[in-house]
Amino acid sequence: MKYLSALAATLFALVIWQGIVTLTGLPKFILPGPALVAETWWQNRWLIAEHAWITAVEVVIGLAFGTVLGVITALQLANSRAARVLVQPMLVFTQALPVFALAPLLTLWLGYGLWSKVAMAVLIIYFPITSSFFDGLMRTPPGYLDLARTMQASKRSVLWHIRIPAALPSLASGMRLAAVYAPIGAVIGEWVGSSQGLGYLMLLANGRAKTDLMFAAMLTLGVFSILLHMIVRRATAHMAGEAR
């Protein structure tokens, strides 16, 4: 049923798209129709795949690093009042900065290669991961803590056996959000400076008025993001207490 409705929605969007192209008669370098984009995609499938692979690697590495860093930060914050006093305002402040503005700087620091894009993805997902897991750690149902207290549990074992498991559903929702943000981060990194990746390909195609290729690359990125989100969703189902 879910797949059927997704299919129907896709078909509907394609029809609207083709309708606009036909009705307005826009030239194909302004708005190419779906058939042309599909044809271009097929002709350039190896080129697109090569660039998509690069972006995928950036995103997956960024997701892994960002998750680990976010989890560690959240645990530190939850465990120490001093860390909360010092780090939390900083964390909120960095969120007020437009992270995209840092992209040129990251390229300057880390070069044109993979790592400046990984860093961009990490920067974008670090906050959602940290704050969602931290919230979960701080909102342990008080009854569980009372129970642990009458059982003479140490602080450490309360964290390990009660607070962390109780916060896993929050971490899962942070990770699902991160799966959507990470590709955006990587592509922004590529826009600022690179010679590979879907972001680079989109920029290149745009510069040469190959709007059809630009659309093909963009749709590939969209499909990749949806796939990634589905994979992360599945992978975190157990954490979120949905699996059975």
Binding site: P141, L147, M151, S154, H161, P165
Partner: protein, 242 residues
């Protein structure tokens, strides 16, 4: 398990400046069951939490003392009004939670015997969400019995059980907790009449004692003296223990 002590809680409590309960003295006999009854919101759970050394919404001024002079709060097993089962852990893991939290090896034989006595053996590997309310309450009771403590505080532990299971669990708890100082909060006069070696009704004015039957607890459900006490208690509760 160390020897069960006498316990005395005396004092008063306020919430936001308003009196929650006036000065009272509640004595729990060593190794005996005391049943505490009283209207909703009169402060029964608050008394239990004070003994367990937990936060209450209010301020308590008074003393909680054990006859042996040792600290009370680290010798209690507490079964709260909510079952507080961890949703991510299985029934078996929930029952042996205390040992796991203290980094000890749980006594698995003891756990399995308890599970069998509680008629939970078909549910050992299930998660709490797969259980009925009464089954969950039995798991919480098993977890409480698993904690081998001299002082046991039970907040309406049998409220969600059907009549037959309730009588069975009362027998089981009476047997498993023999020799411990037990404080049982209940809304059921019949339960108090069956189990109490001392029966106390709490109102906003203080405590009223009710004479328990002479037979040793747990008393048979159709014991005449027990039924008489049940009736007397109900009358007392309806009169607001004036």
């Amino acid at each position: 398990m160390t020897l069960a002590p006498d316990l005395t809680i005396s004092g008063s409590a306020t919430i936001d400046g308003a009196t929650l309960f006036a000065p009272l003295t509640l004595s729990l006999g060593a190794g005996a069951w005391t049943c505490l009854l009283g209207g909703s919101g009169v402060g029964k759970t608050t008394v239990l939490r004070l003994i367990a050394g937990l936060e209450t919404g209010g301020t308590f001024s008074g003393k909680i003392m054990a006859s042996d002079g040792l600290l009370v709060s680290d010798r209690v097993a507490y079964m709260a009004q909510d079952d507080l089962l961890l949703p991510w852990a299985t029934v078996a893991q929930n029952i042996s939670l205390g040992a796991r939290l203290r980094g000890e090896k749980p006594d698995l034989d003891r756990r399995d015997r308890l599970i069998k006595r509680m008629r939970l053996q078909d549910h050992m590997t299930k998660k709490p969400s797969e259980l009925s309310g009464g089954q969950r309450q039995r798991v919480a009771l098993a977890r409480t019995l698993m904690e081998d403590r001299p002082i046991v505080l039970l907040d309406e532990p049998f409220s969600a059980l059907d009549a037959r299971t309730r009588a069975d669990m009362q027998d089981l708890a009476a047997e498993a907790l023999a020799g411990r100082t037990v404080l049982l909060v209940t809304h059921d006069p019949g339960e108090a009449a069956r189990l109490g070696q001392s029966i106390v009704v709490m109102t906003e004015h203080g405590l009223t004692h009710c004479e328990p039957p002479h037979a040793p607890a747990p008393r048979s459900v159709d014991d005449l003296a027990t039924l008489e006490t049940q009736g007397a208690l109900l009358r007392l509760l309806r009169e607001g223990a004036a």
